[in-house]
């Protein structure tokens, strides 16, 4: 019975604890350009949190700061007891933070399966000998990781392209595979940079459904950047609006939508 429950919801095993994400007055400068200006945000566990704003507002920079790829000159980003500003980027998956990039960053020469299995890298303990013999503990571990990956494959409905080389797939499918790879890390916080960019309506609806499913089933926090206002307003719990590196509004989608400052800065400009 324990066996069954463990594999029915494989993401419940081995997962690092979930925390609120607290961004505390971070500022980021590139030379004389102030990309982010004293941004403070709180993302509660299991929320879908959208960051919107015109091009160049600093959305991706903010995500890169959370992801430890950029180092803000001021402020702290707390996830649990850890200040992400001080952590090397490769430690983030071990803290439960995963990322999918805006311009797909998959291992394009590998198969979908290999890409997803790489997400299990941080959990692998077997040594070379065990891996070679594919026997005993090594085999059990491999099967367990594969089971996790298969769960993700089912969730994202990419069974048919398991063995395909990623570089040969369509853009929409690659986006889906990248989400799958991030999920293979079994994260508690997932950062999605424009997960629906360049997709048609049907693909967008699928992606929105996956994001809702993940939050619903896995209970993880989703921070996403998206330009499609319809989708953002539909799926998000909270929306933050950036303009020229400043935070101009944050709140429930309906409040943000009616905020005059936002209409002026963002929605207004687009519909003019």
């Amino acid at each position: 019975m324990e066996f069954l429950s463990r594999f029915d919801r494989p993401y419940e095993a081995q997962r690092p604890p979930i925390h609120p994400l607290i961004i505390d007055k971070i500022s980021l400068n590139f030379g004389g350009v102030r990309a982010l200006n004293e941004i403070s945000l709180r993302v509660d566990p299991s929320q879908i949190f959208a960051i919107i704003g015109p091009n160049g507002a600093g959305k991706t920079s903010l995500l890169n700061c959370i992801n430890a790829l950029y180092r803000p000159q001021e402020g702290r980003i707390m996830y649990g007891k850890v200040d992400l500003v001080k952590v090397p980027p490769h430690q983030l998956p071990r803290l439960g933070i995963a990322r999918a990039f805006q311009n797909i960053e998959l291992f394009s020469h590998m198969s979908v399966l290999d890409n997803l299995m790489l997400g299990r890298h941080i959990y692998m303990k077997k040594n070379l000998l065990q891996a070679l013999l594919y026997w005993g503990a090594g085999q059990r571990e491999e099967i367990e990781h594969r089971r996790f990956v298969e769960y993700v494959i089912d969730l994202l409905e990419i069974q048919g392209i398991r063995k395909a080389i990623v570089g040969s797939l369509s853009y929409g499918l690659q986006k889906r595979v990248e989400l799958g790879r991030a999920l293979s890390l079994n994260p508690t916080l997932i950062l999605l940079d424009e997960p629906m960019a360049g997709m048609n309506t049907e693909e967008k609806e699928d992606m929105a459904r996956y994001i809702l499913d993940i939050r619903e089933e896995w209970g993880i926090t989703v921070v996403l950047i998206e330009h499609d206002m319809g989708v953002v307003m539909d799926i998000s719990d909270q929306v933050a609006v950036l303009e020229f590196g400043r935070l101009i509004a944050v709140g429930k989608p309906e409040d943000v939508r009616s905020n005059p400052e936002v209409i002026r800065a963002y929605l207004g400009r687009e519909h003019r």
Binding site: N67, L69, P88, P89, H90, Q91, L92, P93, R94, A98, R99, F101, E105, L106, F107, S108, H109, M110, D114, L118, G119, H121, I122, M124, K126, N127, L128, A131, L132, R181, A182, L185
Partner: protein, 310 residues
Amino acid sequence: MNPDEILKFLRLTYTALSDGALLALIALALVLIYKATDVINFANGEFMLVGGYIGYQLLVWLQVIESPSVAVLLAVIGMVVATTLVGVLVERLVLRPLIGEPIISVIMVTIGLSNVMQAIVGLIWGKNPRPLPIDIIPRFSPFRIELEGARRPLNLLPDTLIILVIAFILVGGLLLFFSRSKHGIAMRATADDQQAAMSMGISIRFIFALTWSLAAIAAAVAGLIIAHVTNGVSGDIPGVGLRAFPVIILGGLDSIAGAIIGGFAIAFIETFASGYIDPGLKTVSPYLVLLIVLMIKPYGLFGQKRIERV
């Protein structure tokens, strides 16, 4: 066919096989670094030089041990440890500060590094060749093949066979490491996309240090084997390293299989051209074949079509 000719063919094949295994090993060190870091390491020959001299020095110190096989074993282990450190040091002091710089700068630095390493070896051990104090491979008596009607019997040194086996074990080990182990897969991922690798929890610095160390070990073993074959360590070792460049260009810069097949191909071309046509062709022949291959397959026989032109 004339029996002398048969024996000559056998002798050339035998030489080419061990030479090819050695070249494959050296080329593998180059491919390893190119695959993980996109850098062509022009100091590869000097890694062989340094490894060879470290092995030599350890043998000098350890020759007091009664049993020569224990001394050799300890010396080889010590050499592997020492060259690992050399690899890590080079990565830490020379290459890490260059992360984010254009690849061509890093490649130029490896050329500088090769001069520095040669100078350091010259400072410590001088310019004169030095014989190894103990044979790292025991000198067995040669196999003798006699054919009826042949003027002279053919003597084949068993060393050659042992070198072939050592090279095979090392190349095979690295191959398995690269394709099966967790770190090997992390190396492939790093080579493919560094940012994505980082977001998968892979430490790029660790992978780079690992790559340079593995390449340094492969090069050092090759250096020691050359020292055995040429009866001692000398400043000529890096010259053998240069012969690996046609190998990787022929096989494809980023292909391990290419390094192995290319290694044997170049060795056979060299040996047969010098044995059957003219000894002077030994150095030139690989480049002649290379020219033809590059006209037909500009990315090498097994290379992926995305070579940086430098």
